[in-house]
């Protein structure tokens, strides 16, 4: 049984200016110990997908539907508040993008670190503090004994992100959801954090969902990658296949627009137009308006289904599925 099994997850925001379809029929599974990368541009639904799984979105306006989202057999979409509380922070840890707004500025780091332990485990305060100290050391904070009782403002950005990671990992979760954990950091600090996540993953055997818009970061860390566009998964494959032979026109376009993969000074591929307005229903493929291969058939009917083209490689492109455009 996979650790996480999500089927047809849909998240909509009911607002005064309309219904925003942020996540449309997202299905995927994640095995224990595996790393799944979730890539896509701003507004593609990566973060909302993960926040929906943990039911972190206020409802209203958010409405989360779907067949199921089973975490170790428990359907998160239908779990009671008590069941969710037993999972959040204990069996599923989460790292948010912005460490400054995710840490409580009024509380010492020590209080924030031991909170999940005091809630979820029968542990004395003293033992919890000892675990917090060990955790701070393992995320690479120098002089952890003195730093343990400091306030968030006394830390630099990279240090705060390490504290966030320590908080997410202190209860030894089975699943870590990391939402752009290194986006706000400099590359040398980013490299430290990525090495740290890999090391802790090996030690704890946890599964990771890694949300990022940076294909470089994903390529080094993840086993599998899902590409999202307009709230849908358009392609999923193991990381090597996705980078070597991307299939979906959107994935190909993304790849052709990255300077790192093009000859120096070469014209970069640019997508025409803008992502679709998610407050209106979309006929057919959400990417059709910007796709160089789209035909009239792409713009009608249901959104194309995510179908496997090879074992472990699936994409949602009608023309590829019909064999009308060449696979490279």
């Amino acid at each position: 049984m996979p650790l996480l099994d999500v089927s047809e997850l849909r998240t909509r925001f009911h607002t005064r200016s309309g219904v925003f379809r942020a996540v449309e029929n997202v299905s995927f599974t994640l095995e224990r110990g595996a790393t799944l990368g979730l890539v896509g541009e701003s507004g593609s639904g990566k973060s909302v997908t993960c926040a929906s799984l943990l039911r972190l979105l206020p409802s209203p306006p958010a409405r989360i539907e779907g067949n199921y989202a089973r975490f170790d057999g428990l359907d998160l979409l239908r779990a009671t508040d008590a069941e969710l509380r037993a999972i959040r922070g204990k069996r599923i840890g989460m790292i948010f993008q912005d460490p400054m707004t995710s840490l409580n500025p009024y509380l010492r780091i020590s209080e924030q670190l031991i909170e999940p332990l005091l809630i979820h485990e029968k542990i004395s305060r003293r033992d919890a503090l000892a675990r917090a100290l060990a955790m701070l050391e393992s995320v690479g904070i120098n002089d952890a004994a003195r730093r343990l009782h400091a306030y968030p403002h006394e830390f630099s950005g990279g240090m705060r992100q390490r504290v966030m990671i320590a908080m997410a990992l202190i209860a030894r979760p089975e699943l870590l959801i990391a939402d752009e954990p290194t986006t706000a950091l400099d590359v040398t600090v980013q490299a430290q954090i990525l090495e740290l996540i890999k090391k802790l993953q090996r030690e704890l055997g946890m599964a990771v969902i890694f949300i990022s818009h940076d294909l470089g970061v994903v390529s080094g860390l993840c086993d599998r990658v899902m590409v999202m566009y307009a709230g849908r998964i358009v392609e999923t494959a193991d990381v090597r296949t996705l980078f070597r032979s991307p299939q979906h026109p959107y994935t190909r376009a993304l790849q052709r627009s990255i300077p790192a993969l093009q000859a120096k000074g070469a014209e970069l591929y640019t997508l025409p137009g803008l992502p679709p307005d998610l407050s209106k229903p979309i006929d057919g493929c959400a990417f059709a308006e910007r796709c160089e291969f789209a035909t009239a058939a792409c713009r009608t009917g249901e959104s194309p289904a995510l179908l496997a083209s090879a074992p472990g490689h699936a994409h949602a492109c009608l023309r590829l599925q019909a064999g009308e455009i060449l696979n490279r």
């Binding site: 400099d186 490299a191 990255i258 300077p259």
Partner: protein, 324 residues
Amino acid sequence: MLPILELRDLRTHFPMERGLLFRQRTGTVKAVDGVSLSLARGEVLGLVGESGCGKSTLARTIMGLAPATSGSVWLEGVNITATPATGEARRALQMVFQDPYASLNPRLSVGDALAEPLRVHRLRPAAEITARVAELAALVGIPARSLDKYPHEFSGGQRQRIAIARALALEPRIIVADEPVSALDVSIQAQILNLLAKLVRELGLSLVFIAHDLSVVKHLSDRVAVMYLGRIVELGSAADVIERPQHPYTRALVSAAPRPDPDGERARQRIVLAGDPPSPLNPPPGCPFHPRCAYALDTCKTTVPALAPHAGRDVSCLRAAEIG
């Protein structure tokens, strides 16, 4: 040939003060600390480094937005730090900022935002302004019918185009762009990079391009300068510096930058630097990089290395030749 822009031993220091009534000097932030550079006509110079290394302050000092503490900025052989910037110097040097949401006036329509510099500098008679505004919009790919719209009606990428058009309004010879693509998604980033490359090519502009993404800098730049704690530690051609880095800091920076290549990423040995970049308030003595450098010796703790030729570029490392 005379460089279009030259920086001579430029320093920008900010005093740190405490107290309201009796202000006490408590220290000095040496944001830019002895930078010498020159920029040729039509050249793109990439400026890289991590947050706090002084690259934005350097850009602001070139522009005259931050006062230089010492040293000078020469524009086509004229010292523009010596005299208050004249209209002419202001026109020749224009800046594009990182955040197009913050750098455009929300109360000015795009057409008005583009017309304003033309009126202030009296570059065109009133009758020709509309035509010139349409020309500028076309140059950056903003449709003329959008000129009555306000900044909030545009996406981030379009706003950055408008900010570039506004910089171009004064027919500058040099554009200083401070992280112009950092706030943008990759597909939008590609559009802005293509646009900047086109402008350099077609208008013969010189560009100082600040970014922290090495692949972006390499793509666009002819030469690259790497900054660390207010100083340049390596300066050379983009291919030399980014593909064959020499300074230990540049090596670590290049090695830390993730590349979209799954096998390469798994195979390579990454140099992971310990600790955070030190604060420019209390820079270490000697080589500013020595506390994090794997090659540091005792002499590195006391001697400040000068930028000297090595392996076809300039490197400021006492051990550059030994490390190889």
